[in-house]
Amino acid sequence: MGAIPRSDMPGHRRLQERVHAALDRCQESQAIEFKESAEWESLKWGIIRTLMAMANLRDGGVIIVGASEHGETWDLSGIDSSHLSTYQVDEVTDAVNKYASPPLSLDIVLVPYGNNTEFLAIRAREFELAPCVCKRNGPDQVKSFREGEIYIRPAGKAQTKKVTDAHEPQDLLELAAERRARRMIETAHRIGFVPAAGAQRAFDDELQGL
């Protein structure tokens, strides 16, 4: 599949707002990472690892290709068209999911911003039930991928790292437990195990007449 959809399509509006907000502020964060415009092959490993870490965040995260920091200034010149042609949606998705387990849900869109400037946004959505784990070793020249590793984005930092001590994945474990609990509640509702009718009364009682 060749064409990368543009973010002004209705289904991508929220992602576009998120990218615009990041570009307006020129601010990377735990959930936002900027990359200087380059071909897929040269950014590939960094992108895959970062997306795997972002999938382990609440609400996921976005990589924006075409923005970079040079000393004290920001270069927001967007993605070069010759670089853009090296990104194929299927190829990027396959490359990520060759290493990510469970497979990641990705959105890859072209985001217009400013005058005739476009940025490539790759969003990893938050994992469904189980956190993302690296399922295989990278090639010999890429030491940063090891089977069984879990990558995270530390709080408050635009940085990707593997889990190295028990304290680090605390938020991740909490999130996973929450997702499981939510799935259980939804299932219970679907099969009629949780009677919704009684809920309103319970909420009313809780207010104690307030």
Partner: protein, 200 residues
């Protein structure tokens, strides 16, 4: 037998006020594991579109409180009264005054603007109108409520269907109006004392 309503630290119920209730579909008494987490949720999800956050989370300890299963914060600031509670069940209740009514200068400004807009309604004695309702403020308030709810859903506090109830109380006779730079020709007054809407 239901208990008598709690006495609130601010007189919000004694004035025309908004009553906003946000509830998830299922009642789970401790879906939020702790009271400190309740404060943290409001801190993270409150909306700051303008000078006053929604809901307002006071920085002063004496304007915060808690019960066995809920946390609360309130404000009494220049005629604005506000009180909210977030329960561990994730039920959120918010009471806040109709500021156009409780802030005297705002009331005066809206009255002057309405008199100018609706000068062709010669039979109306504007000093007898119990209150004025700013269309702009109304839009802001509803937007803030919806945005706050959306953020609560997105951050995982609510799952499944969320019920939102928005009520306005004590507003009989209030006249809808807008600021002077907008066109406004009709006289709309609330015929009911309480108006509300429930959505999912």
């Amino acid at each position: 037998m239901s208990k008598a309503p709690a006495r609130l630290p601010v007189p919000v119920l004694e004035h025309p006020h908004w009553r906003v209730s946000i509830r998830p579909e299922a009642y789970i008494p401790d879906v939020i594991p702790s009271l400190s987490k309740c404060f943290e949720i409001v801190e993270k999800n409150r909306v700051r579109f303008r000078g006053w956050d929604y809901p307002h989370l006071s920085r002063h300890e004496q304007e915060r409180g808690h019960g066995k299963t809920w946390v609360a914060s309130w404000a009494n600031f220049m005629g604005h009264f506000e009180y909210w509670r977030l329960y561990q069940s994730s039920q959120f209740l918010h009471l806040f005054s109709v500021r156009e009514s409780t802030e005297p200068r705002w009331r005066q400004k809206l009255q002057a603007e309405t008199e100018s807009h609706l000068s062709h309604y010669r039979h109306v004695n504007w000093n007898d109108v119990p209150g004025f309702f700013s269309l702009t403020n109304f839009t802001y308030c509803v937007t803030e409520i919806i945005e706050f709810t959306t953020r609560m859903v997105q951050s995982g506090t609510y799952a499944g269907t969320v019920n939102i109830s928005i009520e306005l109380n004590g507003i009989q006779g209030f006249v809808l109006t807008t600021s002077w730079e907008r066109a406004w020709f009709k006289y709309y007054a609330a015929s009911e004392d309480a108006l509300g809407i429930v959505g999912k």
